[in-house]
C-alpha cells in the first residue's frame, strides 16, 4: 500500500496522470490497489480517461483495434500532425491501412535482419565499457545507456553518426515537454522539434536521391531510410515525401530512447541486487531469459487507445470517444497472469509479458531491442562484472509515457 492515503483508490484515480509527482518513483503500490480494488478506474485529468490495470483486459484491448483505435496515442500533442504531416505512420493508423504501411519495413527489422548489426553493437559496447572501466565512477545513463543504442540506431536508420548529437538533443526536448498534457506547451515544442527534423530528413532524402542517381550508392536498401524510399504502399505506389518524412520521424520516436530506458531500469535493479547480478555472472546463458524478465518487470511504455465502438469490460461501458490508458506496469505485476509477480525471476517461464505490446501494433523494433540488450548484458558482465549503485547520488525515476531513471550513477570495480 502507498502508506500515504486511506482514501478509496477510485478517488485517488480521479487526480491521476502519468506525471503526478507521487507516482514517479514507483507507481506499483498504487497500481496494485487499482488492480485489486478498481481494475477499471477513471481519471478526471487531461480530458478524462479510463485506467486499465489487469493484464487480461490490456491484451484484449490491444488485440481488438476495431474497437480500440490507435488514432489517439497520447493525451496532449498531435505529434507529427503539429506540423501538418498527418497521423504518425504507421502507429496512429488502424487496420487495414496500418498493415500496409507497416509491411514496408517489417522484414528489414526481423530477427534475422537485425543480426547484421550485432558486430557494430559488440564493438560499440566494448568501446564504451572500456571508457567506463577507466573512469571508475560513471553516470551510466550518459556513458552507456544513451550512446550505445543511439549509435546502432544511426546505422540501422542510415543517419551519419556525426549527426547523433542533434538527434539526442531532439529526443531530450521531445521527452521533456513534447509529451506534456499541456497542449500549448507540447504543440510549441513539437512544432519546433519536428519542424527541424522534417527539414533534416527532407535534405537527407534529397541527398540520397542525388547520390543514387550518380551511382554512388551500392545497396540503396541497406538501411531503413533506403527501405522506405524504395518501399511500396500496398504494392501499388511509393510513399510521398510527406509520408517518408512522417515515417522517419516515427522511427526516431520509437528507436532513439526506448532501449536507453530499459537499460537504465535493468541496471538499476542489477546494481541494487547483487544476487541478481551474480546469477548472470555465474550463468551467462540466463541472459535472454533475464532480458524478458526485466522487460516484464519494468515495461517502460504506457499507451492509450480511443474507443470507436461501444464495448464493456468488467461491467464498465465505454462509449465512442472515450480514452483507455493501459497501465502496463500494473498488468506486468498481475498475479492472475504471473506467479510471484513482484519478484524478479530471471528464469521465469511462461513469460507472456506485453512490454512490446500485442495485437497488430506489436513493437516493430522489438528484435533490434532484444539484440541490443543481449549484447549489452553479455559484454558488460564479461568485461565489467563489478559495479554497484553510487549512493552519493539520489536515483530519480520518472513514470510518464516512457518510464526511466534520470541518471544512474554507478561505481565500477571492487
Amino acid at each position: 500500500m502507498t502508506g500515504t492515503s486511506t482514501a478509496p483508490v477510485s478517488d485517488l484515480a480521479k487526480s491521476f496522470t502519468l506525471f503526478s509527482p507521487e507516482y514517479q518513483q514507483d507507481p506499483a503500490p498504487f497500481y496494485a490497489r487499482l488492480r485489486s480494488e478498481c481494475p477499471i478506474a477513471h481519471s478526471e485529468q487531461a480530458g478524462g480517461f479510463w485506467m486499465i490495470s489487469r493484464y487480461e483486459d490490456q491484451r484484449y484491448i490491444l488485440q481488438h483495434p476495431e474497437i480500440y483505435s490507435s488514432k489517439t496515442l497520447i493525451l496532449g500533442s498531435k505529434l507529427s500532425d503539429e506540423i501538418g504531416l498527418g497521423p504518425d505512420i504507421p502507429i496512429m493508423y488502424d487496420p487495414p491501412v496500418h498493415g500496409k504501411y507497416r509491411k514496408i519495413i517489417i522484414s528489414a527489422l526481423s530477427k534475422a535482419n537485425v543480426e547484421r548489426y550485432e558486430q557494430l553493437a559488440i564493438d560499440t559496447a566494448r568501446r564504451l565499457i572500456d571508457d567506463m572501466v577507466a573512469a571508475g565512477e560513471v553516470n551510466f545513463t550518459t556513458a552507456f545507456a544513451t550512446p550505445f543504442p543511439t549509435t546502432i540506431f544511426c546505422a540501422v536508420m542510415g543517419i551519419p553518426v556525426a549527426d547523433l548529437d542533434r538527434f539526442v538533443g531532439w529526443k531530450e526536448e521531445f521527452n521533456r515537454l513534447g509529451l506534456s498534457h499541456d497542449k500549448e506547451v507540447a504543440a510549441e515544442v513539437n512544432r519546433r522539434v519536428f519542424g527541424e527534423m522534417a527539414d533534416y530528413f527532407s535534405h537527407l532524402i534529397q541527398q540520397r536521391r542525388a547520390d543514387e542517381a550518380a551511382g554512388l550508392v551500392a545497396d540503396p536498401q541497406s538501411d531503413l531510410v533506403g527501405v522506405l524510399m524504395h518501399g511500396q504502399y500496398d504494392n501499388e505506389r511509393p510513399l510521398t515525401d510527406k509520408e517518408l518524412i512522417n515515417y522517419c520521424i516515427l522511427v526516431f520516436k520509437g528507436g532513439m530512447d526506448t532501449v536507453t530506458n530499459v537499460l537504465g531500469m535493468t541496471f538499476y535493479h542489477l546494481a541494487s541486487d547483487l544476487n541478481l547480478r551474480n546469477q548472470l555472472l555465474t550463468d551467462p546463458e540466463l541472459i535472454p531469459s533475464a532480458i524478458e524478465e526485466f522487460l516484464r518487470y519494468e515495461p517502460v511504455i504506457t499507451g492509450l487507445r480511443e474507443v470507436v465502438a461501444e464495448d464493456a469490460i468488467g461491467g464498465v461501458t465505454f462509449k465512442p470517444g472515450d480514452i483507455v490508458m493501459l497501465l502496463n506496469i500494473a498488468g506486468a505485476r498481475d498475479p492472475e497472469q504471473f506467479e510471484a509477480p513482484d519478484t524478479i525471476d530471471l528464469q521465469r517461464t511462461p513469460n507472456r509479458h506485453l512490454a512490446f505490446g500485442a495485437g497488430p501494433h506489436r513493437c516493430l523494433g522489438s528484435h533490434l531491442a532484444r539484440m541490443e540488450l543481449t549484447v549489452a548484458l553479455r559484454e558488460i558482465h564479461a568485461r565489467m562484472p563489478n559495479y554497484r549503485l553510487d549512493d552519493r547520488f539520489p536515483h530519480r525515476f520518472r513514470l510518464g509515457y516512457l518510464r526511466g531513471v534520470e541518471d544512474l550513477h554507478l561505481i565500477i570495480g571492487q
Binding site: K103, I106, S107, S110, A112, T349, R362, R370
Partner: protein, 64 residues
C-alpha cells in the same frame, strides 16, 4: 503424437517461439511463425510447449 497448431491471424511476429525453440519453430520473411513440425515427436514436446506457453498472443496450441 501431440499436435501443434498456429492461429496465423493472431501471430504478430513477437518471435518468442523461434527464439526459445528453434528446433520446432521458424520465421517467415516478415518474422511470423512457421511450424517446422506439426506432429511433435516426444523429444521435442518440451520445446514445443515452451514456445506455446510464452506466446503473448495465445496464437499457438499443443493438443496432446
Amino acid at each position: 503424437m501431440p499436435r501443434l497448431s498456429a492461429d496465423y491471424s493472431l501471430c504478430q511476429g513477437h518471435g518468442r517461439c523461434y527464439q526459445l525453440a528453434p528446433e520446432v519453430f521458424d520465421a517467415d520473411e516478415d518474422g511470423h511463425t512457421v511450424l517446422k513440425v506439426e506432429d511433435v515427436p516426444s523429444d521435442l514436446v518440451d520445446k514445443a510447449e515452451l514456445g506455446v506457453e510464452n506466446c503473448p498472443e495465445l496464437a499457438l496450441k499443443l493438443e496432446r
